[in-house]
């Protein structure tokens, strides 16, 4: 099965399930209990923001209105926390675990530190995001919807590391034939944007919320020119324009317009596989693998109720972005989409990491 087939089926299932997941009144009661939502990152990251946004809503929606506290267990780029969660068993349903793209990528790339198995866990909620790449005004003027005029320019990009989410932009730029030199060791995308603003970097990308908050004002002020989004997935698993940025072309469009860049073949399949794992299904919430069905149902119903709040679209768009939230079976399909990359795509990326950045993951 090719990756795009797989993705399509998974996404079809995912969208369908998200639409019809019927909350069942569960006989689970969390009165007086405290639910710990463990995040394998520090208090300061995007996953913290995500969990802190959902925690009070979840608390209201769960039977018995338990206190939901977010706990942080940072270490080894989230592998420490994920390895810990792998060892946890169902107790009384008061343990929830959140992962991010940074947990997915080492898993997909067979990082030697990974001792966790996504398929052992029960997903109850998944949400995604998008990303936008942009250029400085000087080079942005040369951008005509294709990267043809950008191939002779040297670019500098502040990067968090080639094996992290930055894999997606770096691979995309390389496929376009652009010469982008990453400066590694950036601590967060905000630092990357600052480097861009100082003129030390001349290309950058931000996830949707980061772009809206920090980069869109630069675009308005004429200090940056948007280049492309990574796109979003439609019901058939095709990459379409990101609904948050309908006016910005997707990487797919730019690739089609650029000489030498192809939207088929192993490079494209590999890019798409990692894009899907890193963006449309970026963050997932899990229960331990042996959790009884009624507890799973209670969480599913609670998250369902959260997404059905009248004000959900409004409050979530400001805090976590305008992207679909999958619950119940939808989150299961989302997990499948996010954690299954076929061996060719994986081999291609591992090889590319080694050739381009000397990174060997074993």
């Amino acid at each position: 099965m090719t990756i795009s087939n797989f993705t399509r089926r998974a996404v079809v299932g995912l969208i369908a399930a998200a639409g019809m997941a019927a909350p069942v009144a569960a006989e689970v009661d969390f009165s007086g209990k405290t639910i710990e939502w463990v995040i394998p990152f520090s208090e300061t990251g995007g996953s913290a923001k995500w969990a802190n946004f959902f925690a009070p809503l979840l608390s209201e929606a769960l039977p018995g209105q338990p206190t939901v506290v977010v706990k942080f267990m940072p270490g080894a780029g989230s592998t420490k926390g994920a390895n810990w969660f792998q060892e946890q068993e169902h107790d009384d349903g008061t343990l929830l675990f959140g992962t991010s793209g940074s947990t997915q990528f080492p898993y997909l790339l067979s990082d030697p530190r990974v001792r966790y198995e996504y398929n052992d866990w029960i997903p109850v909620m998944a949400s995604g995001t998008g990303g936008v790449a942009y250029l400085n005004p000087e080079d942005g003027a040369k951008f005509d919807g294709s990267a043809n005029a950008l191939k002779d320019t040297s670019f500098i990009y502040g990067s968090q590391g080639a094996t992290r989410l930055d894999l997606v932009p770096l691979l995309a730029w390389q496929m376009l034939g652009m010469d982008v030199e990453p400066v590694f060791g950036i601590k967060g995308r905000g630092d990357g944007r600052l480097m861009f603003e100082r003129g030390e970097a001349n290309i950058d990308y931000q996830t949707s919320s980061g772009y809206l908050g920090g980069s869109a004002p630069l675009v308005e002020a004429g200090q940056a020119v948007p280049m492309m989004t990574w796109g979003a997935l439609d019901a058939d698993g095709n990459i379409v324009r990101d609904p948050t940025f309908p006016d910005i072309p997707t990487f797919k469009e730019v690739c089609e317009a650029t000489d030498g860049c192809e939207t088929s073949g192993e490079a494209w399949d590999a890019w798409k596989a990692f894009f899907v794992a890193g963006f449309p299904v970026q963050k997932l919430a899990f229960l331990p693998g042996d959790t009884p069905q009624e507890v799973v149902d209670a969480y599913t119903a609670a998250f369902q109720a959260v997404t059905e709040r009248g004000d959900f679209a409004d409050i979530s768009s400001k805090r976590v972005g305008k992207y679909p939230v999958f619950v119940g079976d939808g989150s299961k399909s989302a997990l499948q989409t996010a954690t299954n990359v076929d061996d060719n795509a994986k081999a291609y990326v591992l090889n590319w990491l080694k050739d381009s950045y000397g990174v060997e993951l074993n």
């Binding site: 520090s42 208090e43 300061t44 923001k49 080894a76 420490k80 905000g190 908050g213 920090g214 000397g358």
Partner: protein, 676 residues
């Protein structure tokens, strides 16, 4: 003038927002909570803010801001208690305060040191806010002028403070700083992900050591052990000399120093990416350089307290600039603050460039809430300082077990691993020996703190510079030698030259007697062995990951070179030379009634027992055994004190929703909290 036209109405609006009774009430509430959290060394603002987060959702923005800022603002104030009274650096902002604050406490001048520190903090906070009110409007281009070469130079300026703090044998100071830098490189490299002195089989090491643990290990553990051996109170003779009013007078007499250090604090705080790690050292260095009689530094010079404390609260204000204008947090607590602001109200306040355009009144409210919180916090702290200073008159044997309890808990919070406790013990051992043989501990800590920035900025600046040079030579030169860089180079060179001249007078460890050759020589050889292993290890990193190996190779070689010279000097100089400084020869440590190893064994036993039965059970046994056997307390006293310790631990950890280190027992049986 145009600037004033927009600023003044916004400033007026801001004051109108702040000066509502309910806002002030929330601010005071935040301050009180911050003070309560601040007593835990190494936990501070992050724990407190995380605790507040669930309440922020949909809260009226100005109330939420008042509550959060109240809490954040007082942490650099309240952690002064731990620094001055116990020699425990509460956070990176109060490391330099330990150098002179703790010796003052030992002289019985704790109240004076505390009130001088608080007065300076208050003043620094106000100067910072005043400066920011104007500066924030024009800050953006100035912040953007600080690129990687500029940040590298500021880091090097911070590192150059080693010259002042190097001690009597400058080479030893340089080697100590080099060792600190090398210890700071342990773990996965930021750039290429290579492992240095670490393996995937010990995941703990791949993340590197945490500042909290190194700070506690280097400063707190050796002091606690030393005082415990001497079996006396912190204040010699158990009497309190100068009171809190003297401290305020001291501050007023040094007001210009306080002004200058406040400005240093704001400016360094404004630069994103540096945070608080260098500012107190630069302020301390400045205090030393501008003092005529330098002989008292390290022994309880009040200017050594006023300088860093003026700068660290001003820095919090400066840190608002990158946080609010760029959305880039200057510290861990600021990062949570950004996340929390997004939860406030209807989520309309988004930190970033729009804070100046659309939310200038909110921005000013934040700046002045911070200043106001400083005032409230300081007044509370000064009011409490006289009473709390009495702690220094208690027989230390009754305090020590609680301190071991606190630092173990603080260390565990940094990584939530049992290994955190082991690391604390090992670093504590290193600290104990650095102290014994008069190797500069501040130099080691500066090296450790700046290890990551030095490496990161060097690599990144080098990469971008070579990119510019490829374009054209002049463009490269323009990038590397900007006017700011040149000014910083001049300041650094001057401070190094002055520093080396003055270093001999500043004895951070007091006047240490020299003794026989063997012990200092063995310690030097151990350090050399570590450096050699680290060098070989770094050299094994493949060449395509040059960014990961170059810094450890260069720093390691320089440190090793210093050690070799020291070795040669040691073989040629006679016994009794200053190079063979050893605290076990004469002085307080040598004449202490208790031995070093038996005292350390108490601490080790707490950690070992934790490994078996978990922290709370281990603590129970430890406290009872310690009070009965070491302190010789009655059963009644023992049980009361033990109950107090355990109770305090459980209440604080319960309120902050923190766990305790589990042991083997917890792995086998499910126990209820707090035993789990």
């Amino acid at each position: 003038m145009e600037v004033f036209a927009t600023a003044l109405p916004a400033l007026g609006d801001a004051w109108a927002l702040i000066l509502q009774p309910i806002v002030l009430g929330y601010l005071v509430l935040g301050v009180v909570m911050g003070l309560a959290v601040g007593v835990f060394p190494g936990l501070g603002g992050i724990a407190g803010l995380s605790l507040l987060l669930p309440f922020m959702f949909g809260m009226d923005p100005i109330l939420g801001l008042a509550l959060m800022i109240g809490m954040v603002a007082v942490v650099p104030t309240s952690d002064t208690f731990a620094s001055v009274l116990m020699g425990i650096p509460g956070s990176s902002a109060s490391q330099a305060t330990v150098l002179d604050g703790f010796p003052m406490a030992k002289k019985g001048e704790a109240a004076r040191a505390l009130s001088a520190a608080f007065a300076s903090s208050l003043f620094g906070g106000l100067v910072g806010a005043t400066f920011l009110t104007m500066f924030i409007l024009i800050a953006r281009p100035i912040v953007l002028a600080f690129g990687l070469p500029e940040m590298l130079m500021i880091t090097i300026l911070g590192l150059s403070m080693v010259a002042i703090l190097a001690g009597r044998i400058p080479l030893k100071g340089v080697a100590a700083a080099g060792l600190g830098l090398m210890v700071g490189t342990i773990g996965e490299a930021d750039a290429g992900g290579s492992l240095r002195m670490a393996t995937y089989d010990i995941p703990y090491l791949t993340d590197g050591l945490k500042l909290v643990i190194v700070g506690l290990g280097i400063f707190a553990v050796p002091e606690i052990v030393s005082l415990l051996r001497q079996d006396r109170s912190i204040a010699k003779g158990a009497s309190l000399g100068a009171g809190w009013l003297d401290g305020v007078k001291d501050w007023f007499a040094n007001i210009w120093l306080s002004v200058r250090c406040s400005i240093i604090g704001v400016i360094v705080g404004v630069i994103p990416g540096l945070g608080g790690s260098v500012v107190d050292w630069i302020a301390y260095g400045h205090s030393v350089q501008t003092t005529k009689d330098k002989s008292n530094f390290g022994k309880g010079e009040v200017r050594g307290v006023i300088g860093p404390e003026s700068s660290n609260n001003a820095k919090e204000g400066g840190g608002l600039v990158p946080t609010l204008l760029f959305g880039i947090p200057g510290s861990g607590s600021m990062a949570i603050f950004i996340g929390a602001v997004a939860l406030l109200g209807s989520g309309d306040i988004e930190v970033g460039p729009s804070m100046l355009k659309d939310n200038l009144d909110i921005t000013y409210s934040i700046v002045w809430l911070l200043a106001l919180a400083n005032v409230v916090g300081t007044i509370l702290c000064i009011a409490a300082s006289g009473g709390i200073a009495k702690l220094t008159t208690i027989r230390f044997t009754y305090l020590a077990p609680f301190l071991f309890m606190l630092i173990s808990f603080a260390a565990f919070q940094s990584g939530q691993n049992f290994e955190d406790l082991l690391a604390l013990f090992v670093i504590g051992l290193i600290g104990t020996f650095l102290r014994r043989f008069d190797w500069s501990r501040p130099a080691f800590l500066i090296g450790f703190v700046l290890s990551n920035p030095v490496e990161k900025f060097t690599n990144q600046a080098f990469q971008i510079a070579s990119f510019r040079f490829r374009k054209s030579f002049s463009e490269g030169m323009e990038y590397v030698f900007s006017p700011i860089v040149i000014v910083l180079i001049v300041i650094t060179v001057v401070s190094v030259i002055l520093g080396i001249r003055q270093a001999k007078m500043i004895m951070a460890e007091g006047d240490v007697q020299a003794g026989t050759k063997r012990a200092p020589l063995v310690f030097l050889l151990v350090i050399m062995a570590y450096l050699i292993v680290a060098l070989v290890n770094a050299n094994m990193i493949p060449d395509y990951n040059m960014t990961d190996k170059i810094i450890p190779l260069v720093i390691g070689s320089v440190s090793l070179f210093c050690c070799v010279i020291l070795l040669i000097q040691m073989t040629r100089r006679p016994e009794g030379d200053a190079i063979f400084a050893d605290k076990e020869i004469a002085g307080e440590d040598a004449s202490a009634p208790h031995g070093l190893w038996s005292t350390l064994a108490w601490f080790a036993s707490l950690i070992a027992a934790t490994w078996v039965v978990g922290f709370i059970l281990a603590l129970l046994g430890f406290l009872i055994a310690f009070f009965r056997i070491r302190a010789g307390a009655s059963w009644q006293m023992t049980l009361i004190l033990t109950a107090c310790g355990i109770g305090f631990m459980c209440v604080m950890a319960g309120a902050l929703n923190r766990d305790f280190p589990p042991g083997l027992l917890q792995g086998m049986v499910d126990l209820p909290w707090p035993l789990k």
